[in-house]
């Protein structure tokens, strides 16, 4: 591959106090592809995504987005290219649902008339399987799964080039999880977006991924096309896929 990858992570290390979470992560995500990151809870998957967004600064290592160093990029222009679904949805609880979804469209560079922003918000809500009557509710009035989907709608509202999903299907029933998986796939294929998704759900992995990377022990343990995941020969990856208690990954962490 000669084209520069959309996201290039080189030798990233991050410790919180004495706890070394990332210990030299290397990973490249090609443009327009869907990368899924798997790994046990607490291995630093969310921290890795936040490093790419510049929300957490790595201790060492370089992260480049579209060839540009994240730490040096002009922040506004940089962030305008991203959409992010946070693990806990992170909805603004002082704003009704539709204003959460249309947040970017109500202020700043992408500002539009209120009625138009609301229409877009309702359209995005429909795409994540929510009816227009949730638009005027407040986040606290929604179930966890619904909040997650509102967060997803907010992440895609401004049609970003790069989208991060932190556990998009956790807390959803299998049918809704299927809807969200299809949606993510659709966003990558139709909008040509580059996606990084964190998930524990192997059904999701198979539905969403072009490539899979497994984070373990602060490093990328295995990375490759999803088709090669099942016969990787890597005992860690195999144990994770089969969900077995027997194997090199300790159940007590």
């Amino acid at each position: 591959m000669t084209e520069t990858p959309m996201i290039q992570i080189e030798g990233v290390e991050k410790a919180f106090g004495s706890k070394e979470v990332l210990r030299g992560v290397n990973l490249a995500v090609p443009r327009g592809e869907s990368m899924v990151i798997i790994g046990g809870s607490g291995t630093g998957k969310s921290v890795l995504l936040k490093c790419v967004l510049g929300l957490i600064h790595p201790d060492t290592g370089v992260i480049k987005v579209d060839g540009e160093d994240v730490e040096r990029a002009e922040r506004d222009a940089f962030l305008a290219r991203f959409g992010m679904l946070f693990q806990g949805a992170a909805l603004f609880d002082s704003l009704p649902v539709w204003q959460n979804v249309a947040f970017r469209l109500l202020r700043g560079a992408l500002k539009r008339p209120k009625t138009e922003a609301r229409e877009i918000a309702i359209e995005k809500l429909r795409r994540v399987g929510l009816t227009p009557d949730v638009a005027d509710l407040f986040p606290a009035e929604l179930s966890g799964g619904m909040q997650k989907r509102v967060g997803l709608a907010r992440a895609i509202a401004a049609e970003p080039e790069i989208i991060f999903f932190d556990e998009p299907t956790t807390g959803l029933d299998p049918i809704m999880a299927g809807v969200i998986n299809d949606l993510i796939r659709e966003i990558v294929v139709e909008m040509g977006a580059t996606a990084m998704t964190i998930t524990h759900d192997m059904t999701s992995v198979r539905a969403i991924a072009d490539d899979v990377a497994m984070l373990h022990g602060g490093k990328i343990r295995w990375a490759g096309p999803v088709a090669q995941m099942d016969d990787s020969g890597d005992p860690y990856l195999t144990q994770f896929i089969t969900g077995s208690a027997e194997g090199p990954i300790e159940a007590v962490r």
Binding site: K50, L53, L55, L79, A80, F86, A90, F92, G108
Partner: protein, 257 residues
């Protein structure tokens, strides 16, 4: 050597914290002058900080003014100076008690709620979400609140001063036998513009301190519910102490010499 290190570490820590806070203050104020401006947030802050604090500040001032009149009357009687009640109530309320008690009530009511709200936003990743939505948390959260507090607390203090004087008036005319017209005349004659300006300047400073402390500790909150609790508590204590210290400094500047 170990002795020096034992002194040095907390001193360095204190200096670093002061530096961080100073930068925070400068950054907050700089955001007030650079677009975009979040008018809706500002409007909310005006309402929450100013309007809804009126009852608390008003009641505090009323009872303080009343108690002050009783005390001055009782104390003044010892050297037959009962007649100075209106003048001392006016000076006491306007110069000191109005702004200080108003400021402390604002610290209790506004600092705590700002700190708890922003800390919760931090803990639930809402601050991170703001950043990813190209919105600067300082500009969106801190600047409108601090500006609203700086503008509205002087007004609250002015209202509090008036209500406090009115409290003293009620007590003096109903309980202490003062003539209503003379009482008011004495108050008006005695107060100078300088007193009123001082009161308003103090109000603005205390309002700014109260909101800044709430924002600062909220944004630097630790993780989890415990982090939110600690941020809230520390912000209120810090705001109260800083308000009293600032009051001393401002009194020194305005009235010494």
């Amino acid at each position: 050597m170990r002795f020096l290190a034992a002194i040095g570490r907390p001193v360095l820590g204190f200096l670093a914290a002061t530096g961080r806070f100073t930068l925070f203050v400068l950054e907050t104020f700089s955001h007030m002058f650079r677009p975009p401006f979040y008018m809706r947030e500002f409007g909310h802050a005006l309402l929450n900080i100013g309007y809804f604090s009126l009852p608390v500040v008003g009641l505090t001032a009323f009872f303080t003014g009343g108690a002050l009149a009783l005390q001055i009357y009782a104390g003044g009687a010892r050297f037959s100076a009962e007649a100075v009640v209106p003048q001392i109530v006016a000076i006491g309320m306007v110069r000191e008690l109005g702004p200080v008690l108003g400021g402390l009530m604002i610290a209790a009511r506004v600092t705590s709620s700002i700190a708890a709200e922003i800390a919760t936003m931090k803990v639930t990743e809402q601050i991170d979400a703001l950043v990813t939505l190209s919105t600067h948390p300082m500009k969106y959260l801190a600047a409108p609140r601090v500006l609203a507090a700086t503008v509205t607390v002087p007004i609250l203090v002015a209202i509090g001063d008036t209500i406090g004087i009115f409290g003293g008036y009620i007590v003096s005319t109903t309980r202490l036998g003062f003539n209503p017209a003379t009482y008011l005349q004495n108050t008006v004659d005695f107060l100078e513009l300088h007193d009123i300006v001082t009161s308003l300047v103090k109000g603005a400073a205390f309002g700014a301190i109260a909101a800044l402390m709430g924002c600062y500790y909220g944004m630097n909150s630790g993780r989890g519910a415990q982090g939110v609790g600690r941020a809230t508590k520390t912000s209120v204590v810090a705001a109260a102490v800083l308000i009293l210290a600032a009051n001393f400094l401002l009194t020194e500047v305005f009235f010494a010499g």
